[in-house]
């Protein structure tokens, strides 16, 4: 971090945006991943739920890393929201399939 006299506002906004994407978006991504796993894993219900929760933190980590590694804040959000949409769709699919 450079200790310049002051950092440009656009930079600060960018960092804040990435932070939100990472913290909030990442949590949503991790949760959706755990839900997806718990629906799709061919295990007993309790075991699938446990497996989903166990692995969720890795998804969270990947989301956080993405949000700060990618080239812009917009890409950060995109890179989090698109997987969220996909996971939500897969989860929804499993949910409706499972309910006769």
């Amino acid at each position: 971090m450079k200790s310049k006299a002051s950092l440009p506002l656009s930079y600060r906004l960018g960092v804040t945006s990435r932070l939100l994407a990472a913290v909030v978006g990442g949590y949503v991504l991790a949760s959706l991943a755990s839900v997806c796993l718990s629906f799709w894993l061919p295990l007993s219900r309790a075991d699938a739920v446990v497996s989903g929760m166990l692995s969720s933190f890795v998804f969270y980590l990947l989301a956080v890393i993405w949000c700060f590694a990618c080239r812009s804040a917009a890409r950060a959000w995109f890179g989090v929201l698109v997987p969220c949409a996909i996971l939500a769709t897969l989860a929804g699919l499993a949910y409706w399939m499972g309910r006769p």
């Binding site: 949760s31 755990s34 839900v35 796993l37 629906f39 075991d47 739920v49 956080v64 949910y95």
Partner: protein, 524 residues
């Protein structure tokens, strides 16, 4: 963030590490102390003698006490003593109208006489244990904060690994007496060499509270019925309800023996008796966590309390549960014998040192830039003060906690609360001190005070009890002696650190080594 992947990760590592570093230092240090919480409690209750452990007698004694003092309770709990924790604990939950939770009352008993233990009230080592994940905050906020801190730690660890370009080339590199370079070498050394432990402890701390922080899959799969989820995981907690008819509870000791037979001689951790006075009383005998590495939460044998009929033996764990249990068991380290427990302790100290050196480096790098102007901006001063209070300040607070235990009268009713309050008052005072004194002076003074307080613990022990080093070594009471000796050793280390700081600050810093070596903390 246009600079490249590694640099972006370095930025993330630096800021995540700073913002949560102070909290994580406290969590790591108190967590590390928790590996010896039994021994700490033993030192803080010198009146409790260590007996040879006899399960059958302990159970009989506990049952008699509960039948006398809590015959109408809804549930009884008996926690059996083991080699590290000589206390026999009984707890009961009052019977109350259905739908409402009764109060829990807990007592410690002497496992030989069955009488309530007459020892000074103290939280003992449990204080550090509870603090490191509850942070003295009301339920459940502390757990949330510590789990958030764990996630940040996870990010910091992984970004640290990514950032460390020459991780293999510099694997064995430690160059002392080279200022900032040495601090960074030290940070890398305690980070990389102990990496398996750090990764394990961090991920496992996420797993431990995962049902609280990541409940989405439970809610989705069970339509919001979390009770159903837990019953499926731990069938032993699904107990038969009271029938309302009085019944006579069988002696529990033979049931315990039957349970142990199921486990090939494993150890019993605790018993839960539901509806003890009822004809449908059920007895759940749970296995001790210290038996195996992979913690089996559900390992329970259930009996009908009146007929002695074996109701249920918990099944083998499924793979996902075993994985979760592995994380839990590895984190807790209940299974560890004395040698391995010390290694856990050393690894924990290494983690604490990793965080501490990181905080020092963060500040040091930026202070270099401002050394020339001589003016320190507010943000750096803030970091300086927080570094001091969270590291040397915390050490002083811990020492004061032990001093309070010996100085507060044993019969003083609120002494347990006051021990804890002394801890926080002392910590607050160190923060004040850090704000008022100049940086180098403050470090020397706090390290010096910490050194004096810790080195004097064995002396304090000798003056206030009859369990001083001469006695404890002769008796073979290693917990008591080990505590005194570890405090002495820590005090010597802090004295050395204070001396180093004093010595260096007497030397005029040259331009290239803009900051004199400020050796502090847990770096070896």
């Amino acid at each position: 963030m246009k600079e490249g992947f590694r640099q972006a990760m370095a930025w993330l590592h630096t800021w995540a590490g700073l913002i949560f570093g102070w909290l994580l230092f406290a969590i790591f240090l108190t967590g590390t102390l928790s590996y010896f919480k039994g021994e700490i409690t033993h030192w803080m209750q010198p009146e409790v003698p260590a007996h040879a452990v006899d399960d059958a007698r302990s159970v009989a004694v506990a049952q008699r006490y509960l039948e006398q003092h809590a015959p109408t309770a809804a549930r009884w709990f008996i926690g059996l003593p083991d080699s590290r924790d000589p206390g026999l604990s009984v707890m009961w939950q009052d019977k109350i109208d259905p739908g409402r939770r009764g109060n829990f009352i807990e007592k410690m008993l002497d496992p030989v006489s069955g009488e309530q233990l007459q020892a000074r009230e103290t939280m003992g080592g449990e204080f550090f244990y509870r603090f490191h994940f509850q942070l003295q905050m009301p339920h459940p906020w502390g757990r949330w904060l510590s789990t958030i801190a764990a996630m940040v730690m996870f990010v910091a660890l992984i970004t640290g690994i990514i950032t460390h370009k020459k991780i293999f080339k510099d694997f064995f590199t430690f160059r002392p007496r080279k200022g900032q370079r040495s601090w960074l070498d030290g940070h890398n050394a305690v980070g990389v060499l102990v990496l398996p432990f750090h990764l394990m402890i961090t991920y496992s701390s996420l797993v431990i509270f995962m049902t609280m922080v990541m409940p989405a899959s439970i809610i989705a799969s069970y339509d919001g019925d979390t009770r159903a989820f837990f019953n499926e995981l731990f069938p032993a907690t699904d107990n038969a309800p009271a029938l309302g008819q009085p019944g006579k509870l069988l002696p529990l000791a033979p049931l315990v023996e039957q349970a142990r037979a199921q486990w090939d001689g494993g150890h019993v951790g605790r018993l839960a008796v539901n509806n003890p006075g009822d004809v449908n009383a059920s007895v759940n005998v749970s296995r001790a966590g210290s038996d195996r590495v992979v913690h089996d939460f559900g390992s329970t044998v259930s009996f009908n309390g009146n007929t002695g009929q074996l109701l249920r033996v918990s099944a083998e764990q499924s793979l996902p549960m075993a994985i979760g249990g592995s994380f839990y068991g590895l984190h807790m380290g209940h299974f560890a014998g004395p040698l391995l427990r010390w290694l856990y302790f050393i690894c924990g100290l290494a983690g604490t040192a990793m965080i501490g050196t990181g905080l020092v480096i963060w500040l040091g790098k930026r202070q270099l830039k401002h050394a020339k102007t001589g003016v320190m901006p507010f943000e750096l001063r803030l970091v300086e003060v927080l570094n001091l209070a969270s590291m040397s300040g915390l050490l002083i607070a811990i020492a004061v906690f032990f001093w309070a235990n010996r100085l507060l009268p044993a019969t003083f009713a609120e002494r347990s609360d006051w021990e804890v309050q002394s801890f926080f008052i002392a910590w607050g005072l160190t923060l004040l001190h850090a704000m008022l004194r100049r940086c180098r002076r403050a470090w020397i003074e706090q390290l010096g005070l910490g050194a004096v307080l810790f080195m004097a613990v064995p002396l304090l022990n000798a003056l206030t009890t009859s369990e001083h080093l001469g006695v404890s070594l002769a008796k073979g009471d290693w917990a008591m002696a080990g505590f005194d000796l570890t405090c002495l050793g820590s005090g010597l280390f802090l004295a050395w650190a204070a001396w180093k700081m004093q010595h260096r600050s007497a030397v005029q810093p040259r331009a290239e080594r803009a900051r004199p070596l400020t050796l502090k903390g847990e770096v070896h």
